[in-house]
């Protein structure tokens, strides 16, 4: 009799928990892969393909499946560090084969030389180039990610990559550890007693 009770109790428990788990898996089902989105959030969205994948999202998926985290030069060391933090992996130096970390740049079309072939427009991953066949093209600077992909296809070589100059609004304070002592703006040193 005791045996029977135990078996019944275990069976009922099993059924109840099974039902709860089954319900939870339906109710709280996660669409897509959240880790991919988190990785994609860290990637700089340059869509340059230097990692060997056709865009940031595919690379994010590859990282989630175990690829190295150091293949993104635009993301730089900071990007590798953020990815390492997120995924609990080792911080490794950037893969030099993929290119080096460069200051932010934008493409600039020398408009006099443009022949209107639309090849750069087709190459631009973020639709930042404006133009039509046989008409001059130009880059919308605010949308350009500086990915370099338009430079190669240009048959007349009229696209330059220009570094974005620092302005008052993009300037930031330096880390004091990296500053010379006398660069630190103010050090209050007047005698500390009140007059």
């Amino acid at each position: 009799m005791d045996l029977l009770v135990a078996v019944i109790i275990l069976a009922v428990l099993g059924l109840v928990f099974g039902a709860i788990l089954g319900f939870a898996s339906v109710k709280f089902k996660v669409e897509g892969d959240p880790i991919v989105d988190q990785i994609n959030d860290i990637l700089p969205q340059t869509q340059c393909g230097q990692c060997g994948y056709p865009g940031c999202k595919p690379y994010a998926e590859a990282i989630a499946n175990g690829d190295e985290i150091n293949k993104c030069p635009p993301g730089g060391e900071a990007g590798v560090k953020a990815l390492a933090d997120l995924l609990g992996r080792e911080v490794i130096p950037l893969d030099e084969e993929r290119g080096e970390e460069k200051p932010p740049r934008v493409a600039y079309i020398r408009e006099d030389e443009c022949i209107g072939c639309t090849k750069c427009i087709q190459a631009c991953p973020v639709d930042a180039i404006l133009g039509a066949p046989k008409l001059m093209h130009t880059v919308i600077i605010d949308e350009c990610t500086g990915c370099d992909l338009c430079v190669e296809p240009c048959p007349v070589d009229c696209i330059d990559m220009i570094e974005i100059p620092q302005t008052v609004s993009t300037w930031k304070w330096q880390q004091p550890d990296q500053m010379e002592l006398n660069q630190i703006p103010i050090k209050q040193i007047f005698s500390k007693e009140s007059s």
């Binding site: 969205q45 949308e143 008052v168 300037w171 930031k172 304070w173 209050q188 040193i189 500390k192 007693e193």
Partner: protein, 532 residues
Amino acid sequence: MERSNYKSEIPIFEFHGGIHPKEHKLESNQTPIQKIPLPQQLAINLKGQAGNRSLPIVNVGDKVLKGQVIAESDGIFSTFQHAPCSGTVVAIEKRPIAHPSGLDDLCVVIETDSKDQWCELFPKKNIHELERAEILAHICESGIVGLGGASFPTHIKLKRESGIDTLIINAAECEPYITCDDRLLQERAADVLRGAQIISHLYDDINIIVGIEDNKPNAIDALVDARKQLEMDTVKIAVVPTKYPSGGEKQLIQLLTGEEVPHGGLPADLGLVMHNVATCVAIYEAFEFGKPLVSRVVTLTGEACQKPGNYEVPFGTPVEHLMSFCNATNPGVLVMGGPMMGFELPNPKVGIVKATNCIIMAAPKELKHDHLALPCIRCGACMDACPASLLPQQLYWHAKADEFEKAEEYDLFDCIECGACAYVCPSDIPLVQYYRYAKSTIRNQKVEKTKADKARLRHEARNERLERVKREKAEKHRKAAEARRKAAEAAGEDDAKKAAVAAALARVKAKKAQQDDSDTKTESNDQKDTDA
């Protein structure tokens, strides 16, 4: 320094922390405000306020009169700018500006003439007949910004109308060395109160409280006299004990009301609006005389300054010019603003802007250490000094380690960068520097993040479009193929029909032929029958 024994007219509360640095105010507050000879050139920075750059409306070669508009508001977050003297526009170009970065930005350069001739001015004395929007527009067109140091456009600060019941005039001026508001009150207290009256009128005559530190006895006396003279008995004078940073907006509010501005909130959430004394005078002049803001009172001081005092300086005046006027040869450090919150000027050629309340021409050892910061000993003195009740030491560790998220969790953005923590630090760690670094990095990261998000959306949209175009093309091909097949089938059907018709005809023919046959047969049979 001498303390006023005037009793505060409203109860005074306390704020956490704060420090008592040496005041250094007597050097500059003993002489009246004087004018300074005009320099040859003025370089007016078009980003001379918090917010956006003003849009220039003059051209190189234009003759301008004093007070003439040279740049307009962008309509969103900036004000008008005016020629600070008469002369000729000689350049509109990038020049070094008064900013810690030492970077260049767009300036209108005016070659001064000796006439200093005003343009035609349009006073608006009838404020009681003006709509609220008209008053705000006039404040914007007069180029008025907060002159306490942040230079936030005043017309934007005054925009919120509902729920405001008290105007606080900030006359605390708590930072060492600076005495421009003190002198302004001593000499023009009545104008300060008249300006305050205009602001108060904007909110249907709300209460006015003047908050002032007790280290300005002469200014307090001048205020009391002016109040009597103007019969503005409802104005309350709140004398607060001298403690840095009691002039901080949030700190003064806490001193006068006992309430704290909520995290991420504004004084308006408590029904308060606060303006600096110099801003009040600027507003008064804009309405009474139609004068736009073209100059301000600047304290020139420091051990290297031979003529310390307060001077009325037109905007765009090069700091170099002020230095030569004060015979300040070779100062050790050149600081714009006070010694606590100001910044070292990277270049003496920069022009005075609306935010410049003080220039310290310091002797080489006056403001600076000559030794390195020592390690943090975790004494907690910074925590006791912090007027915002933050944990400066935690913020320091996180900022140092680039852990910006954690720094934000510890309310980094509630830090007012007053420097009290760095002042008390026994290891002389430049704490505020770390917070400025962390704040500006976080701001940049946020801008980059929005840009990346936009790029991602555009890339996704493009992929989607390419996919759609591909699908549509495939669909078109499929449809075309189907149409062709149908056409072919239709053609085939026609043949079949023809064949069927032909077959039917053939059948009919055959039948007919057969019938003819049988007819003859029957006939013959009939014949046979008849024969038989």
